[in-house]
Symmetry: C2
Subunit: 338 residues, 2 copies
Amino acid sequence: MNLKQLAKELSLSISTVSKALRDSHEISIATKKKVLAKAKELNYQANPYASSLRKQKSKTIAVVIPEVVNDFFGPVINGIESIAQEKGYHVLIYLTHEDMQKEVAFTNILQNGRADGILMSLAEQTTDTLHLEALKERDIPLVFFDRVADNIDVPKIITDDFNSSVNATQHLIDNGCKRIAFLSISETLSISNKRLNGYLEACKTNHIKTDNNLVLYCTGDDQAKKDLIRKLLSRKNRPDGIFASVEKLALCAYEICEELKLNIPDDVKVISFSNLKTASLLNPSLTTITQPAFAMGREAAATLFKLVEKKGHHFLQERTVINSTLVARNSTRLSAPK
Amino acid sequence: MNLKQLAKELSLSISTVSKALRDSHEISIATKKKVLAKAKELNYQANPYASSLRKQKSKTIAVVIPEVVNDFFGPVINGIESIAQEKGYHVLIYLTHEDMQKEVAFTNILQNGRADGILMSLAEQTTDTLHLEALKERDIPLVFFDRVADNIDVPKIITDDFNSSVNATQHLIDNGCKRIAFLSISETLSISNKRLNGYLEACKTNHIKTDNNLVLYCTGDDQAKKDLIRKLLSRKNRPDGIFASVEKLALCAYEICEELKLNIPDDVKVISFSNLKTASLLNPSLTTITQPAFAMGREAAATLFKLVEKKGHHFLQERTVINSTLVARNSTRLSAPK
DNA sequence: TTTATTTGCGATAACGTTTTCGTTAAATAG
DNA sequence: CTATTTAACGAAAACGTTATCGCAAATAAA
């Protein structure tokens, strides 16, 4: 069922039917009604590809993220999707699995207009940003969230990584930690470094010794991450506090502690950036810095749509910060003195 | 940058360039090389909408699921996406949020050829299936997974719901439960009923009394679900075992137990269909029936592509069953006799 | 040499929309 | 009563591909 057939059924021209369906003022109300009725009767649906081709707009956005089985990216997608639904947009999803090669491949694919805009959170491994510049050059609307590329001049939706990290570290210190390890995911990612800097700052303020051996860059697969953490916690002078910059690392730490029979929080306290739904049900419940994932998703999508719809293109804030909140639970509870 | 411009640069016709890019045998190797080189140089990317319009194929599949913040649907998406990536397909995602109206809206939208095929898992609330029949009528390839519509004649990827439920119930009984409650999500969904029947069967076999009051249909939002469970666990003759048919209900039960100061597993044992990554880290660790989510996603996608590519259309198995595994943990641990 | 066949390429017609322009007839203005 | 505008519609040209032809020239077969 296409316009041609519909037009024939109505004994009208294609253009009239098309205009009627789009509620053009050129068409009389009477014909509009007839057309609408017939369209509904025959269950006519415009071909999206013909439409997109002609209008050079696809009503589609692309979301490029590292993974989806994740209590941060999941709610972000919810946020994005909720706005997209309101606007009648479609959402394409691309998972990099933390692989920069895939990220590059996706951005290349997305240079051909398949999506009207792109929402993106970088892979751990992403170091250079040529592929992102290419998108910028092609003038494809782009918005980063969470894991942003600082050097690319597009809107970014982030949380207050530095301050949150200061607070998290302070929280560990306040609860008695003297030797705190920081678990990072990347040496290059801006978000990692901001969090690291917050940690370093808080240590400095509190005259806590920082040590390169206490900063772990946990890359690779789960096993590799766990091996690193196991080594850290097996040292003679192991840390008494762990600050995980992402959720997965906190869970790895939990598993290793169980394996090594280390008690959380008595032997080692754990705090993490995390949106884990089950944080309060863990053994022990996990103290988290919870990011406003859903809000970030909504904000990112809303910002992207402003770009796509070219309204005040140049007045968009470069970066939008939505604060995280620290939720203290048992994994950082003050231990009774021995 | 389009074919026309590329052709002009090469002093060739549009059709020659097009064929060269698609590696047609009609074109000499020499020209092919020239064309490929120029295309790479000018970073030419075919317009996907023009292509789709012409070929009546979009290289896109749609995934319609209830939610994404979920340790079952998340891995399923991974599975789907992994196959889609191999095949060079794009993935559209639509979230129903368990709302049948949205499910209907999405299926209507997807009747216009935007996607070459659809993967779907029904919403809790989905009762009638007219919207699904419509898809079938339009001959749009469709594959169900997990939450399937039994009466629609398309391939279905499921787990052994009945047997798994029998085993789960038996596990509770073996560990001392005499009075087991079943938490369901829907009165109509086929998957819910299969799981319920497995539970009923096991109870019958073991001469355990079943009682309508022990079967809870937990619909509505989280609060509503919790209210129902709270009421269940506050009864004078409360159950000593809970079988949650989905993960979320197990988590609600955990929260209510904490609220009511009920000890798991001593006061009440809990088992659940669940793919929770943190199941082993919970307090207490949760006994689960773990579904092969990733494999189901891959299988569903692979099946869909067979339909889309029309190879042996009619020889596809109606239903593919991939077994779940029961992982016993502390939430069902045999309690010491009082 | 003549006749077939193959090789390599170009013109052109779709695919189903949207949109710009005409074109007519009726309504309004002068 | 003419002149001009407006209202309502249709014809046709895009949008960027792909695929079906057609057509030479080159090669092979007779």
